[in-house]
Amino acid sequence: MPMRYKRTELAGNIGFSTVIDEKFKTSYIVVRFITALDSKSASANALAISSLSSSSSRYKTLAELNEKLSSLYGAGLTSFAKKRGDVQILGLSASWINNRYAFDGEDVTGEMLSLVKECLFSPNAADGAFEADSFKITKKELLDRIDSELNNKRGYALSRAAEIAFHGEPAENPCYGTKETAENVTAEDAYSAYQNILENSQVEIFYVSANEEPVVEKMMTESFAAIRRSPVQVTFRTKSPLRSEPVTESDEFDVRQCKMVMTFKSDSDDIYALKMLNVIFGATPVSKLFFNVREKMSLCYYCASRIMSEKGALMVDSGVERENIEKAKAEIIHQLDEIRKGNVTDEEMQSARLTLDNAVTQVGDTPASYSAWYFERFCDGKIISPEQLFEEYANMTKERVVQAAESLRLDSVYLMLDKEAAE
């Protein structure tokens, strides 16, 4: 039986989507709250959502909650805060094995659905604040996470590059806020942030299972009915303005390999052409960047591009020796110029189509991939199936890819430099 997808709107402008696919041994639910990213609220929002997955009114400590989850065959319950352009996406998700695999005959699905409901609508809070001890642990967890971002040098360099490229825009903020803003959030602040999220954010719920569970829709409808909803619509796509002159900023660390991130910006609205350009330029091991900058010229250990269509930006990140930085930069720009000049072969176009086709066809092989796919389309403003998206790429012309390349301008460069070499 093929999968069945359905999206309905519940009262209070809540999107409720289900995918029923009999092949799965597990079920999955995710509730996403979508709100504008703002330096003032980012940390409080992130702490609010993490408080939901660390205890509840019935399971008052992480220990009790965890005991419950592990007794339900290691069911997962997690929260997340993500950044997508100028938007903050906060979510609570859960996944568990289907009842037929429970050897003691438990109703794992029923128990997990009530647990999710309880975490969302009956959190561990009283008198307008999350419970103090649990909140303290949640806050420490977030502060540690912010601290440890430096441990992943490639990720850290990309965050710094975004901060520079989107300076003055919401997207310059980290998705959890900064260490300073996080430190100042109290249990009261986080709780009131959560009330604000429940009332004013856009909500998208996604449920994936092998079986129809009408109870999920009923549960969500009833629970949200108790909340006075007046959701504020966010703007998913805001093109970032281009600087008049590119800027370069750098930091020095005790590292052996330097990192360079170049941010290009585009004013084009042809997002499919920009996505295809990204594949040809630097997203695969046969892309122009990988093939020339890494393989042929050995200038970088890695050199890859990524597209952020929600900001009209394309980033090229690379791991490079200090003495090769200028050469690598020139070669990256040269490769983009090649595309601008129309030097894209039919093989490159075809290979990009095949890469995109393979990626699109794999949607649906895990419960979470369905949810990610349809959520991305929701953000794009047009809900289409994987097959319909592929049609867009099948009809793509070289001219559109060239135009997309022509629309890109270098905006900023971030360098992570090695300290010893500087001395």
């Binding site: 095949l354 393979n358 794999q362």
Partner: protein, 426 residues
């Protein structure tokens, strides 16, 4: 060609195993309803296999560290182009990796898997190295070694292994060192290739949206029969004792990170699977977020949710590792050893054991829900000398006394090491 169907008595899942006439073991799992395909072609050859001989050789050959990984990089190029260019024509995403005890070449795709499988089987059987391409690769791998040295998670792990192992090559970075890879030349690569890339030492696993008959037809076309030359690998003598109990290194990190490892005695096949399962349950009990110890350390602020465990076992090595971020790793070590001592004395709480067992079972069932995980399960269980569904079966028969015995016999203070990476003092 012998063909057998292997079925899990616990979940009802099944796969096909074929001993192909070429010498290759093949595992196939058809997964109706899934769109993607994952295939791995692997050899029992990893960074630890630096000493070997064939049946007819008198003496063991010793090769430089990092050569298995080097060979993996070079095999990705054939005479006229690199393998990525071949996959670009089918749309598959190709990759390869070398671990301590295996090297695997893989692709994932959702269309044209037949053509991608031909590419995979073909290039792995067709080595092509020249001195010029070997020289160039030395530069690329040198960069890779540098990059991994900036990765504190990698450093904390290898520093721990260096505290643990005197002679076993597991303590050396999989990519080797800049010095060791400088000794590699084309002849040496060919020697290692013809030793370890004999189909009798290899396995193919493929799972997802495939037809077993079609896969076998392609194997018949592409596999070149190999004579089994009786490969033997040996490891240097390794004492039970550790080298030193503690190591610290400074790197740019936020919160300090730690690895606390217990060096355990090695075994193979079914015995190792049982031991590994007992170790996994023991370590899960010790890192269980609902335990008193976890609660206490969390309240004291010395651990966070990154506190976790790993069973690190393979050909010639076995360790239980506890890791995480902590402002006071010594306090974590103290609490951990006290908790092990308490459980060894009082026994494993039966209720906790049953709950952890359920949770582990849930995790194994989830793996069977995912094409990539299934293909990996098939290849890993073959490499470990056990059946694909043996783990779930061993788990279902495991009792708390086996876990208690493991803690008592293997989680011993004298064989514990701690590695810490901390930021520079401000």
């Amino acid at each position: 060609m012998e063909k057998e169907i292997i079925k899990s008595p616990d979940t009802g899942d099944s796969c096909i195993h074929v001993k192909h006439s070429s010498g290759l073991d093949i595992y196939i799992c058809e997964m109706p309803g899934f769109s993607s395909v994952e295939a791995l072609f692997g050899t029992k050859y990893g960074s630890v296999n630096t000493m070997f001989k064939m049946r007819d050789d008198k003496e063991y050959t010793v090769v430089p560290e990092g050569i298995a990984h080097f060979l993996e990089h070079k095999l990705f190029e054939n005479e006229d182009c690199d393998v990525f260019e071949l996959y670009a024509k089918t749309g598959a995403s190709g990759n390869a990796f070398t671990s301590f005890d295996k090297t695997c070449y893989l692709f994932s795709c959702s269309k044209n898997y037949e053509e991608s499988l031909r590419i995979l089987l073909d290039f792995v059987q067709k080595p092509y190295f020249t001195q010029a391409t070997v020289d160039k690769e030395q530069g690329i791998i040198g960069q890779e070694i540098k990059m991994t040295n900036d990765n504190p998670e990698w450093r904390v792990f290898f520093n721990m292994l260096r505290c643990m192992y005197h002679n076993n090559p597991v303590k050396i970075d999989i990519a080797g060192t800049v010095e060791s890879i400088a000794q590699i030349d084309a002849d040496l690569l060919y020697k290692c290739y013809y030793t370890f890339y004999n189909l009798n030492n290899m396995v193919l696993s493929i799972a997802g949206n495939i037809s077993a008959d079609e896969v076998l037809k392609i194997c018949d076309e592409c596999l070149k029969p190999c004579e089994d030359k009786g490969l033997e690998t040996v490891f240097p003598e390794e004492p039970d004792e550790i080298v030193m109990p503690e190591i610290h290194e400074t790197q740019p990190v936020g919160t300090p990170i730690f690895h606390i490892g217990y060096k355990c005695r090695v075994c193979t096949g079914q015995e190792r699977l049982k031991k590994s399962m007992a170790a996994s349950l023991a370590a899960s009990i010790l890192t269980d977020a609902s335990s008193d110890m976890y609660k206490k350390l969390l309240d004291e602020g010395v651990i966070n949710s990154s506190f976790g465990m790993e069973i690190f076992d393979g050909d010639g090595f076995f360790a239980v590792i506890f890791s995480g971020e902590s402002s006071d790793p010594a306090r974590v070590r103290e609490a951990l050893t006290a908790e092990i001592e308490r459980i060894v004395k009082e026994g494993v709480d039966e209720k906790v054991f049953q709950r952890i067992k359920k949770s582990t079972y849930g995790m194994l069932v989830r793996e069977l829900n995912n094409v990539e995980d299934v293909a990996n399960l098939l290849i890993n269980s073959y490499m470990d000398g056990v059946g694909p569904y043996d783990a779930i079966n061993v788990l279902s028969h495991m009792n708390s006394s086996e876990v208690h015995e493991f803690m008592r016999d293997e989680l011993i203070n004298d064989r514990m090491v701690m590695s810490v990476i901390e930021g520079e003092a401000e």
